[in-house]
Symmetry: C2
Subunit: 437 residues, 2 copies
């Protein structure tokens, strides 16, 4: 038996896990998960289907996931409505881009017009292409100073070319856009237009209350992925207070999603329970504090940090360049080797050349505060300056200092709630395998 | 702290797991996974991104999943090309319906015409709606005798209303459609038309060689989900031998999928390695044998089994009705209580009223053969006849007899390949928690 493939696979998986346990991840689209949130992904429920056919048709038709389906109905849906401050939530999208597809398809008719945030203003690279394939014409939102909407030009645009939908998304962002002034303009000039707020990057901050709720600020609908600042699984949700929009989303989600991944449904329920019970609001506030602290520190060290004229950031992201004379590609490779996992990008709004789009969300989720931000700034400075010093042990020590994040429920608590012994043992093994080490 | 939500969650998860370990799942859209295939879903890799930007742009930009990304490039892609007998595979779709969306969007232009299998002929319920939202006009394929294409009427249709794409999908199927006669007609009458074969239900049987490869039988492209007869994670793939079609799929997949779920990428790689190294071909053949054996046995017992005039089935599905006088809703509820998880449906092609769409794929994956099919037929007969006898222990014993499926790699083998100890322990805990018991 030729086991070469198996060996490559096991080796790469093991090497990654060993590295991850000595590293800090600073990629804005990633986060870590609690042991209890990971548990359903390794259990039978991951492979099962749940459709609420009892409510729809008066009897069940798929029985494999009947029991965990209760978690969707009795835990996830009510908690998400509460955290999203929305009367209606749809939890069927299975990713952020699936959310985007469903939202556009539900809220903008074929042949309709949609305003989008241009890529140069932080919009997602796929927004225009997905819209085009749905028969939607896109018009870029007018921006000013890289981070803000130009409301004067938008007023003219609303008069000359009123949209069906304004799709507000920022995958590269320092200052989350506020839907309120947009809604005020829309109500006056294009009252038929809808505003959808794609909050994929900031869901952890919005649901935790550190950023304003988009519905409260005038968006008609909002939602997005659940694994960035929200430290959950790969899933998505859409939320609204408008029953007619909820119905449109419901119809399209039923077409564009077949089964909606029950393991992730349970995992997302765990994530929301943990954030509500164990400091989701504090986590969200700490993300904002840590981001600004890190940015200030890097700036003080003489590194070029974006938006130094306006206190650097209002969210989880911090953008910084390598020092002049340091090759950013080599710096990024060395960061990887030394245990700092980053996202390197060209074309960040307002920054020339190649830069680093960092996030403090995962470090904060692991328990980091101001002191750790200072250590982290020093480590980043070393690598962004091309200093050849080996700091892998320093980074591992920093990660190790964050080895006991308060994940809300440990194996002992889950055992006390009556979980079967093998499930408790599995959760303990998940915790051990993912702990710093 | 009000832990009601946590308690509901842990209880439902634990109850489900306990029930699953004493049950047999007969739902055609579900399957079980090996411990090694579940492992990456519980590890750090699940939360990471991998984009092959080195190939595309000459340097990396997302570093979080760099090492497990090797598994995508060096294990998953080559193994899938080999198993799918295709020069080009795209592994970005994250589900079967995501595959469908990408395939249609890539292969049929807006305003184009697509033939589809009508729901009454076994087609998926979403196909027409997804097409409509992509601006694609659909025309139902003419069927005869519920299970076959009416090639005579199709010939007329190809002359009068030639399509851009023929989308062949069957989510309820007994006799997988053969693309060959369709391709012969197309080549003669509408040579610009493409044939896409959505193999979501039969990927385990096709990749295992028990059903013909759709490309070999004339389809231009094929693919679908990876968790039905293929006992893998929630993912999807598309395959073709045509470089121009591969390019079109590549472009659209890049738009409609952002990140493509690295945990599932690794899990699917494990699944393909295990099927190649440890009897994937035998599994696929056994699924066909077991399905026919079960159908024959149920028929002999006097139950109404679909397609008794043509040996019942050519795939994993078997369709059967409850005995006259037995309420199918109550029978399904009792099956759940007694440990047989089924899918109850109305409108199965050629069967009046409510019936059961069963699959032997998961039981076969657990090691069941002819003897177990006979025991299973007896248990099903009891419940489909409204017999009030308690057979939960019988079902649990049957499940328990399948407690040592040959999953290819146990924890010991993975340890011998050099996996870190905590990873090996976790895999062992996954195996224990999911074993019969």
């Amino acid at each position: 038996m030729d086991d070469t493939s198996a060996r490559i696979l096991v080796r790469a998986l093991g090497d990654h896990q060993t590295r991850a346990r000595r590293s800090l991840n600073l990629t804005p689209s990633e986060n870590t998960m609690s042991p209890l949130a990971r548990l359903p992904l390794a259990l039978d429920v991951y492979s099962r289907y749940f459709f609420d056919h009892m409510r729809l048709f008066g009897s069940w038709s798929f029985y494999g996931g009947l029991e965990p389906g209760r978690i969707e109905l009795e835990v996830l849906a009510p908690l998400l409505r509460e955290a999203a401050q929305a009367s209606y939530v749809d939890i069927r999208p299975i990713s952020g881009l699936n959310c985007m597809t469903v939202a556009m398809a539900a809220l903008c008719p074929p042949g309709g017009t949609m305003y989008t945030v241009p890529v140069a203003g932080g919009g997602h690279m796929s927004t225009v292409a997905v819209a085009a394939r749905l028969g939607i014409r896109t018009v870029p939102l007018p921006m000013r100073d890289h981070h803000d909407l130009d409301l004067d030009r938008m007023e003219g645009l609303l008069r000359s070319d009123p949209p069906d939908l304004i799709y507000v998304d920022q995958s590269t962002q320092l200052f989350p856009l506020d839907p309120k002034p947009v809604r005020d303009l829309v109500d006056r000039l294009a009252p038929a237009a809808l505003i959808h707020y794609d909050s994929s990057h900031t869901n952890g901050l919005i649901l935790g209350g550190a950023l304003a709720n988009p519905l409260e600020r005038g968006a008609h609908t909002f939602g997005g992925s659940t694994h960035k600042t929200l430290p959950g699984p790969h899933k998505g949700f859409l939320a609204t207070n408008d029953p007619r929009l909820a119905e449109r989303i419901d119809g399209i989600a039923g077409d564009f999603v077949s089964h909606h991944h029950l393991g992730e449904v349970v995992s997302l329920a765990v994530t929301l329970v943990e954030l509500r019970q164990c400091g989701g609001a504090e986590y969200a506030r700490a993300v904002l504090d840590n981001a600004r602290t890190l940015a200030q520190d890097l700036h003080r060290r003489g590194l070029e940090v974006a938006a130094s004229d306006r206190a650097f950031t209002d969210c989880h992201q911090v953008w910084v360049r390598a020092r002049r004379g340091t090759d950013p590609d080599r710096a990024a490779d060395r960061m990887f080797e030394q245990g700092l996992m980053v996202n390197k990008l060209s074309g960040l709004p307002g920054l020339d050349g190649t830069a680093f789009r960092l996030s403090v969300a995962e470090a904060t989720r692991l328990g980091a505060g101001a002191a750790e931000m200072s250590t982290l700034a020093g480590a980043l400075d070393t690598l962004l300056s091309g200093d050849p010093r080996d700091i892998a042990e320093e980074v591992a020590a920093l990660r190790s200092a964050l080895s006991t994040p308060r994940y809300c429920y440990g194996a002992a608590e889950v055992a006390a709630m009556g979980a079967p012994r093998e499930m408790v043992d599995l959760m303990q093994a998940i915790e051990t395998a993912n702990a710093a080490g």
